[in-house]
């Protein structure tokens, strides 16, 4: 990954990006997802600039005379069971799914990556850490997250913690596996011969060289974290009404399922599109980062 290489050689990142760009579906998904992140982020800016007055007036305040109004030009996604604009609620809801999902996965990457790197590198720690991870892996992800939230109580932080813990073993396994392969390479031996410390070998050589599977796993995990947030909110253990989280919106919509279809269809479609984009990007990244597929 040095600038001094001869000819047209590209770094791993540039090379992967070059191949990723050829996958038009993946690029389109990336654009859509970035747009969603941007919109979700802008809600924070709007809240900050208007002192949450737009949020209070449009997203939370109820207007019972116009409840369950179907989609129209004025309100493209219709109005919900309390007469609130569904489009705005979906937009404001994006920040829970996207940012909380990312936060949980970020935490799980750090924690799982740390544990995985240590157990790949030190034999003694390996047994203890991986047996602990086996225990967490013996419970289905969503069940584990549910049990943790049930024990900790419902709050945004607990929701993130629950998802973080339930995702950690996957990352530990992925990182451990790639550390075990990278560890045997000659350049690690060379670094050790030059007197590099364990810490330096892990940080400078092993982690950069085992990034590819980690990046793919991150993308897939954000999708699964978003699904977990929506699921837990749907069963009443995540984000609570009146906050416009997509899963919580679906949970409320269940009561009115006989009267109106749009309040059920729209939040679920938002979840599905987000997860679909992440899955397509994940697949694209896997192909792009796989050195065996290099031409």
């Amino acid at each position: 990954m040095n600038e001094t290489t001869v000819g047209k050689a590209r770094s791993l990142g540039a090379d992967a990006w070059y191949r990723f760009k050829k996958n038009r579906l993946a690029v389109l998904s990336l654009i859509v997802l970035l747009a969603m992140v941007l919109v979700a982020f802008s809600t924070f800016v709007i809240d900050w600039a208007t002192d949450s007055s737009i949020y209070e007036a449009k997203v939370i305040t109820q207007d019972l005379r116009r409840r369950l109004e179907p989609p129209s030009w004025e309100h493209p996604f219709g109005l919900d069971e309390f007469g609130r604009d569904m489009l705005l609620r979906v937009i404001w809801g994006a920040r829970y799914s996207l940012f909380m999902g990312m936060a949980a996965v970020f935490g799980a990457t750090l924690l799982g990556g740390f544990l995985g790197a240590i157990s790949g590198f030190y034999k003694t720690a390996d047994n203890i850490i991986m047996r602990l991870m086996d225990i967490l892996l013996a419970v289905p992800t969503i069940l584990l997250a549910t049990a943790i939230v049930a024990a900790l109580g419902t709050s945004k932080i607990n929701l993130i913690i629950a998802i973080l813990i339930s995702q950690t073993p996957t990352f530990a396994r992925v990182v451990r596996a790639s550390v075990l392969t990278v560890k045997e390479q000659e350049y690690i031996e060379a670094a050790r011969a030059m007197g590099a410390s364990d810490m330096r070998i892990i940080l400078r050589h092993i982690i950069p060289n085992s990034l590819s599977p980690l990046i793919v796993q991150c993308t897939m995990s954000v999708a699964s974290a978003i699904l977990s947030i929506a699921s837990l909110s749907f069963i009443g253990l995540g984000i609570q009404a009146p906050m416009p989280e997509w899963g919580a919106m679906l949970s409320n919509a269940r009561t009115y399922i006989r009267d109106s279809w749009h309040i059920t269809v729209i939040p679920g479609a938002a979840i599905m599109v987000t997860i679909l984009m992440l899955n397509i990007i994940g697949d694209g990244l896997r192909d792009a980062l796989d050195p065996r597929l290099k031409n």
């Binding site: 419970v139 289905p140 749907f234």
Partner: protein, 328 residues
């Protein structure tokens, strides 16, 4: 082979001890008092103390855990805080319903997923393949509970063909009430089985023995079933066993949407009423069945693949061969 199975079974024991301990500990330190859950807020000091003693809450955590496991091994999951009924009866009455639903979902997923995967692979990049690939991606990305709600809107409320809630009484009614939840749970799994079949068949299609089989003049159907599918089946069997385990331990959302009387919904109800023994019992039962299915997937994998099986067999044969040599 028997040695391998035995070894894997023994390795399951520490994992299960760990799972039960983890679940027990997080629920034991949960920030609510079980005594107030049972007695309500207005209980006297004396009654509270008596109840704490009765439930063994005054003992240290480790003692409580050992007692719990001891009872568990005797088939006693404790009594529900809410109903004061034995949790074991409640769970065991519901578990068959969860198994029934999981089985039906798996049948749908396999019956549709494998043929679709084969067709996609044989007609790679055709319209059918592209539709199946995109459809597969979409159905993997769909939240189960949302798909369930959509099916309810269409087939139960608009068309009125099928019931939307609960489980029927007689066989025909049970079958009818099974259809929507099974499709809900089966769709995502069908997509992953289809994807797996497609890539697995694509890989075996390029093997030399397929060309040999065709050259011998075997009909295309026979080549597909006897030569391609049989060899492509190994990863498909593994993923099916894993998914079945996932269904046993993770179908509580679908059970909630359809008011299906399974263990998952029982657990969610118990969480709402803070009924710790009921939560613990259901989580442990679901995790154990999930782990056993994972184990079964590994064993099946070793069992179905003749390459893996022969490793064990040839090791034994070599040994006995050596033995003979030494004797002569």
């Amino acid at each position: 082979m028997a040695k391998y199975v035995l070894k894997r079974l023994l390795l399951l024991i520490p994992v299960l001890i760990g799972v039960t301990f983890f679940v027990f500990t997080i629920l034991a330190v949960a920030p609510y008092d079980p005594v107030t859950v049972i007695l309500g807020d207005g209980a006297t000091e004396e009654a509270i103390e008596g109840m704490r003693e009765e439930l063994g809450l005054n003992d240290p955590l480790l003692v409580r855990y050992v007692n719990y496991i001891w009872d568990l091994l005797h088939g006693d999951f404790g009594k529900s805080y809410k109903t004061r009924l034995p949790v074991a009866d409640q769970i065991l009455r519901r578990f068959p319903n969860t198994i029934l639903l999981a089985t039906c979902s798996m049948v749908i997923a396999i019956v549709l997923g494998i043929p679709l995967g084969i067709l996609s692979a044989k007609k790679q990049y055709s319209l059918l393949d592209n539709v199946a690939t995109v459809g597969g991606l979409v159905s993997v990305s769909m939240p189960n509970f949302w798909l369930g709600l959509l099916l309810v809107i269409l087939f139960a409320l608009k068309l009125r063909w099928l019931p939307s809630q609960g489980m029927g009484e007689d066989p025909v009614a049970i079958l009818k009430s099974l259809i929507l939840p099974s499709i809900t749970l089966g769709t995502g799994i069908m997509a992953s089985i289809m994807r797996m079949t497609r890539s697995s068949v694509l890989e075996t299609m390029r093997q030399d023995y397929i060309g040999t089989a065709r050259a011998k003049g075997i009909s295309e159907g026979r080549v597909t079933v006897r030569h391609m599918l049989k060899n492509a089946l190994i990863p498909i069997i593994t993923i099916s066993a894993l998914q079945f385990g996932n269904l046993l331990g993770g179908s509580m959302l679908t059970e909630t949407v359809f008011s299906w009387p399974g263990v998952g919904r029982y657990m969610l109800d118990a969480i709402k009423t803070k009924d710790t023994p009921a939560i613990m019992g259901s989580v442990i039962l679901m995790s154990v069945s999930f782990s056993i299915m994972n184990l079964l997937a590994d064993i099946l994998y070793a069992f179905v693949d003749p390459r893996i099986k022969s490793q064990y067999r040839s090791a034994r044969r070599k040994k006995s061969f050596k033995g003979e040599g030494a004797a002569s």
